[in-house]
């Protein structure tokens, strides 16, 4: 990718090692599927885990002290990048472990799936490490196209095909919108580097094409983040996807987009925050209301969590607004804390859903959960913890992260957003509690395909750790973690 022939140093290869390792893994998994004789499914899966862990180690060890841009900004290193990469890789590892059973059990496991999975992850890594529109685009598309395929590939039922096609069409549509926006920005500013664009845009803010470009860029990102009113793909895609992929969409995609958004809105654009803020506020408000309200009537848990994720995107958008308005490292740290909390809660909840699912039923409904507490008290306890955490009840991370976000928003004078957020939270409590009500307080309901999950050490471990983290991050850990996040955000924080 060295079109402009910049000097490529060893440092760059070290920094980009996580991506490179993943690409290697993706290729080898692909090769396995071509030459079926080489290695079994388990071997491929094992390799996938090894590759991911290797990438994680590489990401952890990568030099991070100073934010450095390689390839004229096509690839960045630094604390935030590292944070993003590590988070994405940890999520990827946990999800692939949780997802193991479903994958291996599927009627045909192929190397392609593993390959796609690793490509998606590498695309995400590229995205969070880039500051250039080109790599941004490549990373985004790498992850998106991979996800389109994963959605319909693993389980070709009508529902999943439909979901994949819908996701694909709307996703491409959004990509086109995003690219149109990028194109307009490029034609106005003459540069592909994000940091330069955001510095230049405020100077020509009354330029119509610039405004249009920025708008389309915002729409594209909003779409990927599933902000209302660009959210309608999310419930369908979440429901259609195998739960593991749903978990990936719910967590990693959000992490990736939010990190990019932080760079965009926190940087030079913040000097004209009065221009874009109303638009973003509008998206945040609609997301918090629509997500929470629509979730009220969902019966399928995955669908409900989809709407809930829309609402949570709204909260994160509130924090992004605060970043633009406020500066300083606090709001960044608040967003990152929210992301971590949200990721842990989501993975925990989807983990339990994955554990509950079987071949006949991969779409858990509230009826399935009815009266489950007497059969699986521990799982129900964990799910209840996650639901309370989603709802933002203390003493869970959900509360503390919401507190940080509200804090940032109020500091930025976004009182109306906070009020909407509060109303949204109150509504959300109802549907989160509905899950708990069904599990603990209702009698079992007769369903067509009863669930009979088997005990699994891995799931117990993952969910157990998630529960503990959810509680600890809500009680004793916020202090040190927040300190760490603040020092992480210092490098991109504008003062």
């Amino acid at each position: 990718m060295n079109f402009s022939f910049p000097t490529v140093t060893l440092d760059f290869y070290i920094s980009a090692l996580p991506v490179l390792i993943l690409c290697l893994g993706a290729i080898s998994a692909m090769l396995q599927s071509v030459f079926k004789k080489v290695g079994s499914e388990t071997a491929v899966f094992g390799l996938q885990i090894v590759i991911l862990i290797g990438a994680l180690l590489a990401a952890l060890l990568a030099p991070n002290s100073v934010e450095t841009a390689y390839l004229s900004g096509n690839y960045l290193t630094g604390l935030i990048t590292q944070f993003g990469q590590v988070t994405l890789l940890v999520i990827a590892i946990i999800i692939s472990i949780l997802f193991k059973d479903t994958w291996l059990k599927a009627k045909f496991f192929r190397g392609e799936i593993s390959s796609l999975y690793q490509m998606v992850i590498s695309g995400m890594l590229v995205m969070v490490s880039s500051e250039d529109l080109i790599t941004l685009f490549v990373g985004l598309e790498l992850s998106s196209i991979g996800l389109y395929a994963l959605l319909g590939y693993t389980d070709p039922t009508r529902k999943s095909q439909e979901g994949a096609i819908k996701y694909f069409v709307l996703g491409s549509f959004a990509t086109a919108l995003l690219m149109f926006g990028f194109g307009l920005l490029y034609s106005a500013t003459g540069t592909m580097r994000l940091s330069e664009i955001v510095e230049l845009v405020p100077k020509m803010a009354d330029h119509n094409w610039v405004q249009l470009g920025a708008l389309f860029a915002m729409v594209g990102l909003g779409f990927k983040l599933a902000l209302a009113p660009f959210h309608l793909w999310a419930p369908d895609a979440y429901e259609a996807a195998p739960t593991g992929i749903t978990a990936l969409m719910a967590t990693s995609v959000k992490v990736m987009i939010i990190l990019v958004a932080m760079r965009i809105f926190g940087g030079g654009l913040s000097s004209i925050y009065e221009v874009w803020m109303p638009a973003l506020m509008f998206l945040a408000v609609i997301s918090m209301i629509a997500g929470n309200v629509m979730a009220l009537v969902q019966n399928s848990l995955k669908r409900m969590l989809a709407y809930s994720s829309i609402a949570h995107s709204g909260y994160m958008a509130v924090a992004i607004c605060a970043i633009g308005n406020l500066g300083g490292e606090f709001p960044y740290a608040a967003v990152l804390y929210y992301l971590i909390g949200y990721a842990i809660i989501s993975i925990g909840s989807f983990g339990i859903l994955m554990w509950l699912e079987n071949d006949q039923n991969d779409n858990i409904t509230l009826d399935n959960l009815s009266g489950m507490a007497s059969k699986h008290p521990k799982a129900c306890f964990a799910l209840a913890v996650f639901m309370f955490a989603f709802a933002g009840m203390p003493p869970t991370v959900g509360f503390i992260s919401k507190f940080f976000v509200f804090n940032a928003a109020l500091k930025a004078n976004l009182v109306s957003l906070v009020v909407i957020g509060i109303i949204g939270s109150s509504i959300s409590l109802y549907y989160y509690l509905r899950v708990i009500v069904r599990m603990f307080m209702s009698e079992p309901v007769k369903v067509a395909a009863p669930l009979a999950p088997k005990n699994s050490v891995i799931v117990s471990l993952v969910v157990g750790v998630a529960v503990i983290l959810v509680v600890l991050l809500g009680t004793v850990l916020p202090g040190p973690v927040m300190d760490h996040l603040i020092s992480t955000s210092l490098e991109i924080a504008r003062n």
Partner: protein, 644 residues
């Protein structure tokens, strides 16, 4: 120390009977209950003697800091002076007699621990009421006696009517109590204290009161008087007392005749210096007293239940006492309280004996001729009746005529006229009671008549003591006009308690003025004459049971008779215009306001969200194109926001 024993003995008795001695025989309950009272009486007597021998100065006995908050202070402390000492003696003395009597009266009960426990507790509360040195301690007793009254009226709770009567008593009293409380609040607001001794200091010895304080005094006294109306069964809050007769008769004697109901008079006397300062209130007090006296007396004329007659008579007599307070004749009021305690306790206990003999039948129409079967009861009842109607020489004569005289000079002819009319009525209905019960032929059924006999000594002995008291205590306060006897001993005895503040002296000229003896004698003559005439009329009408003339009279005045029998429809009025509307309103508040409106709004908000969600999720979903359309719509909205 002795004073502490006085109040602790009844409490101990109550605790023993109520908590520990539940399984023992009723004799033990009786002995414990009565001996607690007797011990208390003995201590009271000693304490009283000590106080009097020390010159009769009031003394304040500090107990402990009870309630302190901000500027408000109400220590648990007692005042023992001539007034409270006397009250203490009445309570424990008459209380002892009634306790002894009650053992006999309650003989047929299975277990009496509850009864004696309540009764002892009542005495304890009553002692708190009279001994407390501040309004708050008094209020403890004030409400405490109400509680005991409630429990004792509802003693036979299995009859729902009794439980209802108890509740009515408590609630009507509570109305008065709220008045009392408001008085306390006002008192604290304007004088910063609720202690009797400190109040007295401020009023008598302190600086001249400010305008607002003077105005406040009227309100304080009025508010406290509402409390007195409740407790002392004055118009319009008297309605509970007749119903309270549902309790055992010793209770009626002790609580609803001798002691508790006089609490209002005691309180006003205790605060006489305040009341003197508020002539307007005093006018109201006197009018209410006079009206109550007459009103209740008229009702009593037609009642057939022996205890109801006595109950209305009590209301009427309390009216006299209140009237006395109203015209500033506190000594007269308290003196009447004293004599009334003796003869009304006697009458009630006598009636109780009759009721026991009649197997708990109380209708006088079924009695008659009991003189033959119960000579002792008859004799003491005769004394009691003569005392209450003011037969010259007996207690009631002295005390009532003193009040009537003060009513004339202090309240004017109208007030006097009402009081005198009440006295005439009293003479009539009491004589009627005596005649219907003890004279004429016996009208009871065969079974009852077979078992009629004199009661045991436990019951008649206290009666005799009370009869003697009723006969003689009147001589403690002989008016000026009667020569040859020491005059107005009681008034002199009480005079250290009564203070007319200098600022108010002008309103009370008659307290110091001298009047001609002939006027007083003349008035006395009129009332005595009226008494004789109406008593004679009653004898004529009822000496052989209800005579044809009586029945004819009843027929020719059927309208009035009906109104009187139904007690002027006061209860019905209260129910129809106060209780029932309140109930309807409550029901409305609950069923409509609470369930439909308030809860409806709360639930409605939630349901509205659900509805919106249901509609939108249905409309928005499905088609790919619709999704894309929404995206474009979103872009349009953003454009609008961005550009404008």
């Amino acid at each position: 120390m002795l004073l502490w024993l006085v109040i602790l003995f009844p409490l101990l008795g109550a605790a023993l009977n109520g908590l520990l001695l539940r399984k023992v025989s009723k004799t033990v309950s009786h002995i414990v209950g009565a001996s607690a009272l007797i011990a208390s009486f003995a201590c009271a007597l000693t304490a009283y003697m000590q106080m009097m021998s020390a010159g009769g100065e009031g003394q304040v006995i500090f107990g402990f800091d009870w309630l302190e908050a901000g500027g408000f202070k109400a220590p648990f402390q007692f005042i023992l002076d001539r007034l409270s000492g006397m009250m203490m003696l009445i309570i424990t003395g008459i209380g002892s007699l009634i306790h002894i009597y009650a053992g006999g009266y309650m003989h047929e009960e299975k277990a009496t621990w509850r009864f004696f426990s309540y009764l002892n507790l009542f005495v304890f509360m009553m002692l708190l009421l009279v001994l407390g040195d501040n309004l708050l301690i008094m209020f403890i007793g004030w409400e405490g006696v109400g509680l005991c009254s409630y429990l004792l009226i509802g003693y036979w709770y299995e009859d729902d009517a009794n439980a209802a009567a108890g509740m009515k008593a408590f609630l009507v009293n509570r109305i008065g109590d709220i008045g009392f409380l408001i008085g306390v609040f006002l008192c604290f607001k304007f004088f910063g204290t609720v202690s009797f001794s400190e109040l007295k200091d401020i009023i008598i010895n302190g600086n001249a009161l400010t305008g607002p304080q003077l105005e406040a005094v009227s309100w304080i006294t009025l508010a406290l008087f509402i409390g007195a109306c409740g407790k002392s069964a004055q118009l319009p809050l008297y309605v509970w007392l007749p119903d309270a007769m549902a309790g055992p008769t010793p209770v009626s004697a002790l609580i609803h005749a001798a002691t508790m109901v006089t609490a209002g008079i005691y309180m006003m006397t205790r605060l006489n210096f305040l009341y003197f300062l508020a002539p307007d209130t005093q006018m109201i007090v006197a009018s209410v007293g006079a009206a109550t006296a007459l009103f209740a007396a008229t009702i009593a004329i037609v009642q057939n239940d022996i205890k109801k007659v006595l109950a209305y008579s009590t209301v009427s007599q309390l009216g006299y006492m209140v009237l006395a307070c109203g015209v500033g004749a506190y000594a007269g009021g308290v003196f009447h309280l004293f004599t009334h305690a003796c003869f009304k306790a006697l009458l009630f206990l006598g009636a109780g004996s009759v009721i026991v003999a009649m197997h708990h039948k109380q209708d006088m129409q079924e009695m008659g001729g009991l003189r033959k079967y119960m000579p002792i009861t008859h004799a003491v009842m005769l004394v009691g009746v003569l005392a209450i109607i003011g037969f010259p020489g007996l207690a009631g004569f002295f005390s009532k005529d003193e009040i009537l005289w003060k009513a004339w000079i202090g309240g004017g002819p109208v007030i006097w006229g009402m009081g005198a009319m009440a006295a005439v009525c009293t003479a009539f209905y009491m004589t009627r009671l005596l005649m219907l019960t003890f004279y004429g032929p016996n009208r009871s059924d065969h079974h009852t008549r077979e078992h009629l006999h004199e009661t045991s000594a436990v019951m008649w002995a206290p009666l005799v003591v009370l009869a003697i008291l009723s006969a003689v205590v009147g001589y403690l306060n002989v008016p000026h006009v009667i020569p040859g006897l020491p005059h107005l001993l009681f008034e002199h005895y009480l005079s250290p308690i009564i203070h007319v503040p200098a600022a108010a002296a002008e309103h009370w000229p008659h307290l110091t003025a001298t009047y001609s003896h002939s006027l007083e004698l003349g008035l006395m003559g009129i009332s005595v004459l009226g008494m004789f005439l109406s008593a004679g009329f009653a004898i004529v009408l009822y000496k052989n049971g209800p005579s044809p003339t009586a029945i004819k009279l009843k027929k020719s005045f059927s309208g009035i008779h009906k109104v009187l029998t139904n007690k002027y429809y006061v209860d019905e009025f209260y129910f129809k215009y106060i209780v029932d509307p309140l109930k309807d309103m409550s029901l409305f508040l609950w069923k409509i306001v609470d369930t439909v409106i308030i809860d409806g709004i709360v639930n409605g908000i939630g349901q509205a969200f659900m509805l919106v969600a249901g509609l939108t999720s249905f409309r928005m979903s499905g088609s790919l194109h619709r999704h894309a359309m929404v995206v474009m719509l979103g872009i349009f909205c953003l454009l609008t926001i961005l550009l404008f």
